[in-house]
């Protein structure tokens, strides 16, 4: 194996990659756009619940309930209605998330010591957010009840109760960004290496220059190294850029070790470069390569726990995710960023990446060599 030949091939790849002016935005701007998009957009937080209110009782009690909702920062009564039909229309046209209908006998029931029911309609179309809105609503009502209880029966209020002391770890403010930005870092690295590796080889095939490379004294393994090393360098450079952006722009805490991040990225690249090589062996045209890449990326992305929790998947699919290199890399990268976990906790994931990457890369190299002959 001659390092000189590899070096020259690497140099050629770099020249080819950067000579085409159209490639530059792709390498530099596209990752940033994606990072910014994901950083700002991907959140399912419930910050603001728009409420349509119909108060048919118009008494002190009903106003107290209204105040209880208004005092809560997440709720905002945006419409006061006069007829129940108006509430339905608001909900139907997506102008509110929740409607509250206080019946005419609301306060008379309370004064009698009965339970007055308030009708609440929730827009369930985005089920995950609806679940949070509903639990907020129930909390407000429960707090309201407790207040009334204390007011009405001060002597009976001092019963022993559970005091919930909830502490949230790793991401105390439940900030979506902290969860998704490290994930997108991993995703971008995968996207770039998978696509560029397969494209670089297909382009040689399409333009017929592969023949020329084969007749040079380059050995197959040197050819593979020469074709993959540029993308290892680019991927690592991108990793540094993107991580810096995440830490300094989005203020994502980087609790763990940067060295571990580097090592695990290398292990992850083993799989993605292997898959890229593999795609190049089964595709004849750039269009095919792109579609095939996309076909690989979609399930990798969806079945990695990036947005959709793995624990929610059916068991068979959960087993399938063990074949997904992005799954391991996400656990590692989130662990390093958020939890500050080190190798003592992350070794199973690192080992899995190493084994998976080793097999995939070796298989791809084998196929690639056979293709060359």
């Amino acid at each position: 194996m001659s390092w000189l030949r590899i070096r020259e091939l690497v140099r050629k790849e770099f020249i080819q990659l950067f000579r085409d002016k159209k490639n530059r935005p792709l390498l530099i701007i596209a990752p940033f756009i994606q990072l910014v998009l994901f950083g700002y957009v991907v959140t399912t937080e419930v910050r603001d619940i728009r409420v349509g209110l119909l108060d048919q009782s118009r008494t002190r009690e009903s106003r107290l309930l209204e105040d209880a909702f208004n005092a809560n920062k997440t709720f905002r009564v945006t419409y006061y209605c006069n007829r129940p039909e108006d509430l339905d229309a608001l909900l139907l046209r997506r102008q509110v998330d929740l409607t509250i209908n206080i019946p005419p006998d609301f306060s008379s029931q309370i004064r009698k010591g009965n339970t007055a029911s308030v009708q609440i309609l929730a827009d369930g179309s985005m089920s995950n957010m609806a679940a949070i809105r509903i639990s907020h609503t129930m909390t407000v009502i429960e707090m309201f009840n407790n207040r009334l209880f204390k007011e009405l029966h001060p002597q009976r209020a001092d019963f022993g109760r559970v005091d919930l002391r909830l502490r949230t770890w790793y991401n105390p403010n439940l900030d979506s960004r902290n969860f998704y930005v490290p994930g997108i870092v991993a995703f971008l690295v995968m996207l770039l290496t998978l696509l560029l590796t397969s494209m670089a080889i297909i382009r040689e095939k399409e333009s017929g220059t592969m023949e020329q490379l084969i007749v040079t004294p380059l050995k197959p393994f040197e050819l593979i190294l020469g074709k993959t090393i540029p993308f290892i360098i680019i991927a690592q450079a991108q990793m540094v850029m993107v991580t810096a952006f995440a830490v300094f722009w989005f203020q994502i805490p980087l609790a763990g070790s940067i060295a571990l991040l580097f090592v695990s990225t290398c292990l992850f690249l083993l799989s993605t470069l292997g898959i890229g090589l593999f795609i190049s062996t089964i595709s004849a045209t750039q269009q095919q390569a792109m579609m095939t890449t996309f076909f690989f990326i979609l399930p990798f992305f969806m079945l990695s726990g990036f947005v959709f929790p793995i624990a929610n998947m059916p068991l068979a699919v959960q087993w399938l995710t063990y074949l997904n290199p992005l799954r391991y890399f996400l656990i590692i990268i989130r662990g390093i960023f958020l939890k500050g976990t080190a190798i003592d906790v992350l070794w199973p994931q690192l080992l899995a990446l190493m084994i998976l990457g080793g097999i995939v890369f070796a298989g791809a190299v084998f196929r690639f060599k056979k293709n060359l002959d």
């Binding site: 700002y40 959140t43 929730a122 089920s127 509903i134």
Partner: protein, 377 residues
């Protein structure tokens, strides 16, 4: 415009497609895969939150509390642990998302009529999951407190207290709160973008790269004929994908369309036309397959996924991005889909969205013509 010319170009494009069997195959496989994934595997809902428990109290009351928690449909006690340190370990390795620590004097304090602290550790790294499970656990504790109060009043021989207000909560449009019900229709918008824009983004660029664009420029055809011919095969592929998606959603996952089927076909056709013109425009402008594909991912696929109110609500975004969502076609189509699938809204309440899509199509098609004319077609 001569329909014969359109037909000829369409036939040529169709042959390209048939000959490149894999691209065609993928044009059907990617949508299939997406629908299956989203229908079966991917969900944003939370049930069976895994809890690890440390019970320092070991009293009948604490055991009863744990049993009640386990019996609730929202939680599963995955393990009882000896000490707090092991809870940390479980949370660090993501093997549980909630840790519950019952202190030694828990029951004693409750019996004494005091506030008895109960410590809960929550893994907040996934904010969606954590937010929902936080809601579940607070409500569970409130319910439990209500029970403690009733027990207390009972013990003291006092009259039971009726809670003054009860919220009768009813959920509309998605009664069982399943994320599938809004994700499966939304995925149709993504599929159309992938098939419509990402596939077509390659077709003119390919002509440029192969040098066959010269031949086409010298043919006696108009730009509009060329565009229509290029788009027609992909239009039919897209329509077939939409039909498959509707059918699979309904048959496999029980996601039933509430409004009219034909209106759905109409809306999908309009949106598909927008996607096709967008893809062709990218192709004509970039003239390189690699760049075209990357651009297509960036300006069609990602915005449809992220900036369209699909899973991530627009109201949470910074205002700059909020205004950006207004030029994303998927925003309007997802609005229409939401109406058709969940709210049983027909054409009349949603006409502005249809109109915007039609205008977008007109503008994009016009731009295509302008660019192609400048190229000499």
């Amino acid at each position: 415009m001569d329909p014969r010319n359109v037909q000829t170009i369409a036939r040529k494009e169709f042959y390209h497609l048939i000959r490149d069997f894999r691209s065609l195959y993928l044009a059907f496989m990617i949508p299939l895969l997406l629908i299956l994934l989203f229908g079966y595997a991917l969900s944003l809902d939370v049930d069976d939150v895994a809890i690890v428990v440390v019970d320092h109290d070991r009293s009948p009351l604490s055991r009863d509390f744990i049993r009640k928690l386990d019996a609730s449909p929202y939680f599963v006690i995955s393990r009882q642990l000896p000490d707090t340190a092991s809870v940390t370990k479980y949370l660090n390795r993501s093997r549980a998302s909630l840790g519950l620590i019952i202190p030694p004097d828990w029951t004693e304090k409750i019996k004494a009529g005091l506030q008895s602290p109960l410590q809960i550790l929550l893994d907040g790294s996934d904010p969606n999951y954590a937010g929902i499970s936080r809601g579940y656990i607070s409500i569970f504790i409130e319910r439990y407190n209500r029970k403690l109060r009733d027990d207390f009043l009972n013990r003291m021989g006092m009259e039971k207290f009726n809670p003054p207000v009860e919220g009768r909560i009813r959920v509309w449009f998605n009664e069982d709160l399943e994320s599938r019900v809004f994700i499966v229709p939304g995925i149709i918008a993504i599929i159309i973008m992938i098939v419509g824009a990402m596939l077509t983004s390659l077709v003119v660029a390919r002509e440029y790269e192969n040098g066959t664009m010269e031949t086409i420029l010298s043919l006696p055809i108009r730009a509009s004929e060329f565009l229509l011919g290029k788009a027609i095969p992909y239009f039919f592929i897209g329509l077939v994908d939409v039909l498959a998606a509707i059918l699979m959603g309904q048959l496999l996952f029980g996601v039933v369309m509430k409004a009219s089927f034909w209106l759905m076909i109409l809306a999908s056709s309009i949106y598909l036309s927008v996607a096709l013109s967008l893809g062709l425009l990218i192709s004509v402008l970039t003239k390189s397959q690699l760049v075209a594909n990357q651009t297509a991912i960036l300006v069609t696929y990602l915005p449809s996924l992220l900036l369209s109110n699909f899973v991530f609500p627009v109201v949470n975004m910074p205002s700059v991005l909020q205004s950006l969502t207004r030029i994303v076609p998927a925003t309007y189509f997802i609005d229409i889909l939401n109406g058709l699938y969940l709210r049983n809204l027909g054409f009349v309440p949603l006409w502005p969205s249809y109109l915007v899509l039609i205008i977008m199509f007109g503008v994009l098609f016009g731009l295509n013509l302008v660019v192609l004319k400048r190229e000499g077609l």
